[in-house]
């Protein structure tokens, strides 16, 4: 802090700390903490609600009795006494009723337990499918990234990467839309298959569509980190290995892949996170005809079932899985956060 003040002076330091503070505490930390907090409680009818309603019933009976008494009352004094009691009982009823209907905030794990067999299956399916998307993206992209980074002349490589920016920069929804057209029941793919006597196949309705579109939508998040890291590999390293007798596989296993670790980590983390957290792709591709993705369950908890506590619990489960994946990748590939975020 003193270092900060010495570098920027007191007013500027104060502004810096204020802005960074609002961002880190107000935008990043607080909402997450509130979400976590929210996932651990629920509003319930207060304890002893049953006894309360018995008492309220009893008080209503008393009111009825008092009304009869009032009608039968002999003089004004007795009537006034009864009136006073009626007011008192009425007040007590109001208070008790309020107590009975005001839910109490109760700490609980039940929001998580709500995830029944069906939802748990969707959760697992979402994660497994996202892992598969990640694996496919890596297998497809590694040769591409290597070929562009190490086999093309530098200027051509730059042009190729620039060309790839076009599909990368086009909105995710539109990329998905293109595949929705292609895989449609009456789309060009089925038309082409029809020519050779196959199909038509209901790709969209079977859930295949989600998978295909997801690979397409997120594959470039694998290409770019891999390319960036492979571009920094000294070609002499490859030649040295070759000179010492290494074959193509050995070169990749011992020299290229170890060097590419940070890029692999970034690519896998991004692809996995985007797939597992994807709302657009399943939402658009299935149009509700196939099993939903976990994110859709989360959305439904919030905006259809409007149970925000359960929604928070679901969202947090997803966050935990994604964070866990990041840790596993960092461990497995022996990279640090600094290597990842660039």
């Amino acid at each position: 802090m003193t270092e900060l003040r010495r570098a920027f002076g007191a007013p500027l330091s104060a502004l810096i700390v204020f802005l960074a503070g609002v961002w880190i505490l107000g935008l990043i930390a607080a909402p997450q903490i509130i979400m976590i907090e929210q996932s651990f409680w629920t509003m319930q009818r207060p304890e002893g609600a049953a006894e309360l309603s018995v008492r309220i019933d009893a008080l209503y009976n008393r009111l009825d009795v008092l009304a009869l008494d009032h009608a039968a009352a002999a003089d004004d004094a007795a009537r006034a006494a009864i009136d006073a009691e009626r007011v008192e009982v009425q007040g007590e009823i109001t208070a008790l009723e309020a107590q009975e209907s005001t839910p109490v905030k109760t700490w609980t794990l039940s929001n998580y337990a709500q995830m029944g067999q069906a939802h748990l299956a969707i959760f697992a399916k979402t994660i497994l499918a996202s892992l598969a998307v990640t694996a496919i993206a890596f297998v497809v992209c590694y040769p591409i990234a290597f070929a562009i980074a190490k086999l093309e002349p530098p200027r051509r490589a730059a042009m190729i990467m620039l060309a790839l920016v076009v599909p990368y920069a086009i909105n995710e929804l539109l990329r998905v839309f293109a595949w929705q057209m292609i895989l449609n029941y009456s789309g060009p793919l089925n038309a082409a298959l029809g020519l050779v006597g196959i199909g038509p196949i209901p790709f969209l309705e079977s859930g295949t569509g989600v998978f295909v579109a997801m690979v397409y939508a997120y594959i470039l998040f694998m290409v770019f980190p891999l390319y960036n890291v492979l571009e920094t590999l000294d070609t002499n390293q490859i030649e040295a290995a070759r000179d010492l007798g290494a074959g193509p596989l050995q070169i990749h296993r011992r020299v290229v892949l170890p060097h590419a670790r940070p890029g692999i980590a970034v690519g896998c983390i991004m692809t996995f996170m985007l797939s597992a957290g994807s709302y657009a792709v399943p939402y658009i591709m299935t149009r509700g005809t196939a099993d939903p993705w976990f994110t859709q369950l989360v959305y439904n908890r919030f905006f259809q079932a409007t149970n925000w506590n359960v929604g928070a619990a679901y969202a947090l489960s997803l966050l935990v899985v994604c964070t866990g994946f990041i840790f596993v990748m960092m461990r497995l590939l022996k990279v640090r956060l600094k290597d990842i975020a660039k």
């Binding site: 920027f8 204020f18 960074a20 909402p31 789309g187 957290g277 925000w308």
Partner: protein, 268 residues
């Protein structure tokens, strides 16, 4: 590198990859000019620009675009100062504190977008603020500021620390030194960060969808249209996006080329 044969295989493979990347976009473009609806390339009813006209007349798309621009402008105004403050702070902290802070500041990039949207809405509901443009702006700022921070940090690491010291030595106050030395040095990054922030905000779907409540942006509107069947109007938007992207890429390439030319001219 490897033998001639495997080189050929790799080239064919790369060509296939490019077909895979670009063919779907091509199909989308072609269908946008087809008079037939739903969008199709298999049934051709003649070249038509009618969907462009329909897009222009679409009130919800227009209001969505307006909301998108409002959000993007606000996100730039918030995220850039915050990201810069974060980057400046990082450079002046001890290793341990900086490590913790860094983790916090990049965490939004490693968090699924929907979670950022959800947590913002949950948070603000406690203050009786419902989902809308305001929450969408805050939710997007959370992660856009992370991008800005990383970009500013990379630039600051390349700054020659002695320049600021020289200014101070010549009698500049810290504020003057910052304004005259550091800020001009950061100017190109400010421009790039603004462009990136705009794109991130404008194109965002996941976070916005969860944070925006009953309002809509251009992109969330596109999303809900797709849900209810295909419309060539969406193809037209795709065509416009592609044109914009290619234009940006070409401009960027030309600028880069000119820069290289200038550098060569200077050295020759």
């Amino acid at each position: 590198m490897s033998g001639r044969g495997s080189g050929l295989i790799l080239r064919v493979y790369m060509a296939l990859f490019f077909v895979y990347m670009f063919l779907p976009l091509g199909i989308m473009v072609v269908a946008g000019f087809n008079a037939y609806s739903p969008p199709s390339v298999t049934v051709w009813q003649g070249f038509s620009l009618q969907w462009f006209g329909e897009l222009w007349a679409d009130e919800r798309m227009r209001s969505g675009l307006r909301n998108s621009l409002i959000i993007a402008g606000s996100v730039i105004a918030l995220a850039l100062p915050m990201g810069l403050a974060g980057a400046l702070l990082l450079g002046r902290l001890g290793a341990r504190a900086a490590g913790l802070l860094y983790t916090l500041m990049v965490s939004p990039l490693l968090t699924p977008g929907i979670i950022l949207g959800i947590s913002t809405v949950i948070f603000w509901r406690n203050f009786d603020v419902a989902g809308g443009l305001f929450t969408a702006i805050l939710a997007q700022t959370t992660f856009v500021a992370s991008y800005a921070m990383l970009m500013f940090m990379a630039r600051l690491q390349r700054q020659d620390a002695t320049l600021e010291e020289a200014a101070r030595d010549l009698g500049a106050t810290p504020l003057q030194a910052f304004r005259r030395i550091t800020l001009p040095f950061l100017r190109p990054t400010i421009a790039t960060a603004a462009v990136i922030a705009f794109l991130q905000s404008f194109e965002n779907y996941n976070t916005t969808m969860f944070a925006i409540g009953g309002q809509h942006t251009l992109v969330t509107e596109i999303g809900s249209r797709m849900r209810f069947g295909l419309s060539p109007v969406v193809n037209v938007i795709g065509i416009l996006f592609i044109i914009a992207t290619i234009t940006c890429a070409v401009v960027w390439a030309i600028l880069k080329e000119r820069e290289r030319g200038a550098a060569n001219g200077a050295s020759a």
